[in-house]
């Protein structure tokens, strides 16, 4: 009963940053860190896992694991946990990570600490902070089972500095579920346009209802592009059909925590705040100086977003030399 497992979530060999952040989180628990790398064509990920701080890698290279599917992944993770009895199993709170950790926790009757922003050890208990009530309050959780599954909110833990000189022991294992037992088939995939993932983004530029139309998002997109950020939207802008739901930030959208959040034409409803208030620096651009967004913003410009946002784009271009 020792050691920490970190499951490396990746898509076609490209890891989500939350997976490496999980290695930072594992370091706060102490003990040997074993990265679990499942998939096909995972050689590079194994190398990276050591660079980011894993002491050991358990690798399962198999065609049945090429695309993530819950059944074979959960079967394999459950088997490994039963064999090794790690103190904790960590993953980013990604779409796949949340499914897989909960499934394996249920299979092993283990506690699951979901969507965690802080982590500590207190004797036999692992303690965590988890935002509850749509992020409006914090809950302090304690888990006592021999193995504890933990999903970590993106960007809550630092990305470790990679050390390219590091390497270690790789244990290669076989999959736990034969191909013919797997009912799920991945039939197609369509990549998201402008593929900056909101939950991983360091900079987000968000447009609200005041953007007024689908075309109105053009200046927002342009600023995001110059800053190397992602485009967010409020529920009002999504419901009005200006932009797809994948961009929605807030209580019924994504919860984000970038270094810089620029809210343009966003009033700042309590539901929207629930999705972005942990951003490090919040900038509000709004015509209405009384808009609630200014109450949580660090910097504000009172003005018309269609004038201010292009001015910001021009200023950023000039000063960043782009």
């Amino acid at each position: 009963m020792s050691g920490i497992f970190v499951w490396i979530d990746h898509f076609r060999g490209k890891a989500l940053p939350a997976s490496w952040e999980a290695i930072s989180a594992a370091q706060t628990l102490g003990g040997e860190i074993t990265a679990l790398v499942f998939g096909s064509g995972i050689g590079n990920l194994i190398t990276l896992a050591f660079h980011y701080g894993a002491h050991k890698v358990i690798a399962c290279e198999d065609a049945t694991l090429a695309d993530y599917r819950l059944e074979p992944y959960a079967a394999l993770l459950t088997k490994l946990v039963k064999e090794h009895m790690p103190r904790a199993v960590l993953s980013g709170a990604t779409t796949r990570g949340r499914e897989l950790m909960a499934a394996a926790a249920a299979e092993t009757e283990s506690a699951l600490l979901p969507d965690v922003t802080e982590l500590s050890v207190d004797g036999a208990a692992i303690k965590a902070v988890h935002p509850a009530y749509a992020g409006k309050v914090l809950s302090d959780l304690a888990a006592m089972t021999p193995t504890v599954f933990i999903t970590l909110r993106s960007r809550a833990f630092p990305l470790p500095t990679p050390d390219v000189s590091r390497s270690g022991e790789v244990i290669n294992i076989a999959p736990a579920m034969p191909a013919e037992q797997i009912a799920t088939q991945v039939e197609a995939f369509e990549e998201q346009r402008g593929s900056v993932n909101l939950t991983d983004a360091a900079i987000i530029v968000t447009g609200g209802r005041a953007v007024g139309s689908a075309e109105g998002f053009a200046p927002i997109r342009e600023l995001a592009e110059v800053l190397g950020g992602a485009v967010g939207a409020t529920r009002a802008a999504v419901d009005a059909g200006y932009i797809p739901y994948a961009h929605q930030v807030g209580q019924t959208g994504k919860v984000v925590s970038p270094n810089l959040y620029i809210a343009a034409g966003v009033s700042g409803s309590i539901q929207h705040q629930a999705g972005m208030r942990t951003s490090k620096i919040i900038v509000a651009i709004n015509k209405d100086p009384e808009a609630p967004i200014f109450k949580i913003a660090h910097y504000g410009i009172v003005g018309d977003l269609f004038k201010v946002v292009p001015a910001l784009t021009a200023a950023a271009r000039a000063k960043l030399g782009k």
């Binding site: 819950l70 909960a102 009757e109 506690a111 409006k136 914090l138 089972t145 088939q185 001015a311």
Partner: protein, 259 residues
């Protein structure tokens, strides 16, 4: 049988200001409790699929009497029957999953369980995948569209949203899915629905009825806390033109190493 189940609960209204009071309890003032916001989509999808497949749609809550309104709301939107599972014990996701799986087994003929993306009070979706595993069923989360559903052949084909884009997956029934906001336009309760719901009798099952013995929760909530108050006020950038304001702001952000 085209029997679809949705699990729901009452949660504070999304516009509610939720705080931790001096006694450590979570409060939401005079704000109303409503159907968990994500479940507007799961309930609507269950009703739409029930209509398309001439099946049956059941809504279930786990907890206590506090969830009755959510069940009635779901009935008013069009669910056929509601069941309330009462349990006083402190719940974590694993306990929820044991009760939910036992209820599905008791119903006997369920092929599809639809959850909303998460419960906004626990702020988690772990109970969804745990319920699936306790049933020994497969689960697919973050479904944005049901592309095909065949209760005869026991297959389902869905589109799901992952971080990288959209995937099309097919799997066998029975299974558990969670649905996102993209999946439908939520139905409002109809006049007839509201009348039907007000007259409905909602059977109450207990953990003992389901043969589930509830132990201590494996995850304990030791305390709730308010969010740290953000110090300082908003610095409004002044200037004679938008250009000047923009330049000042970019300079500040560069100094703060935010860019």
């Amino acid at each position: 049988m085209a029997h679809i189940v949705v699990f729901t609960r009452n949660t504070p209204d999304t516009a509610a200001k939720v705080e931790v009071g001096a006694n450590g309890a979570v409060t939401w003032g005079t704000a109303q409790l409503v159907l968990n916001p994500w479940d507007e989509y799961s309930v609507t999808e269950a009703v739409l699929q029930r209509d398309a497949h001439k099946g049956k749609a059941t809504v279930i809550s786990i907890g206590g009497e506090v969830h009755t309104d959510a069940l009635k709301q779901a009935l008013a939107i069009g669910m056929d029957q509601a069941i309330r599972i009462d349990s006083d014990a402190e719940h974590d996701a694993l306990t929820f999953a044991m009760l939910a799986a036992a209820a599905i087994r008791k119903l006997g003929d369920v092929s599809l369980v639809i959850f909303g993306k998460e419960f906004v009070d626990s702020n988690s979706d772990a109970h969804i995948y745990m319920t699936a595993r306790k049933l020994g069923w497969n689960a697919i989360g973050a479904v944005s569209k049901i592309l095909a559903l065949d209760f005869g052949a026991q297959t389902i084909r869905v589109e799901r949203m992952i971080e990288e884009g959209k995937q099309v997956l097919s799997t066998r029934l029975p299974c558990v899915i969670s649905v996102l906001k993209d999946i439908n336009e939520p139905k409002s309760p109809s006049f007839i629905g509201i009348r039907k719901a007000s007259k409905a009798t909602i059977p109450v099952w207990t953990a003992a009825d389901l043969g589930v013995s509830i132990g201590a929760p494996v995850v304990q909530i030791s305390a709730y806390r308010n969010l740290p108050v953000r110090s300082g006020t908003c610095q409004i950038i002044e200037g004679s033109s938008d250009q000047e304001k923009a330049e000042k702001l970019i300079d500040i952000l560069l100094k703060e190493k935010a860019l």
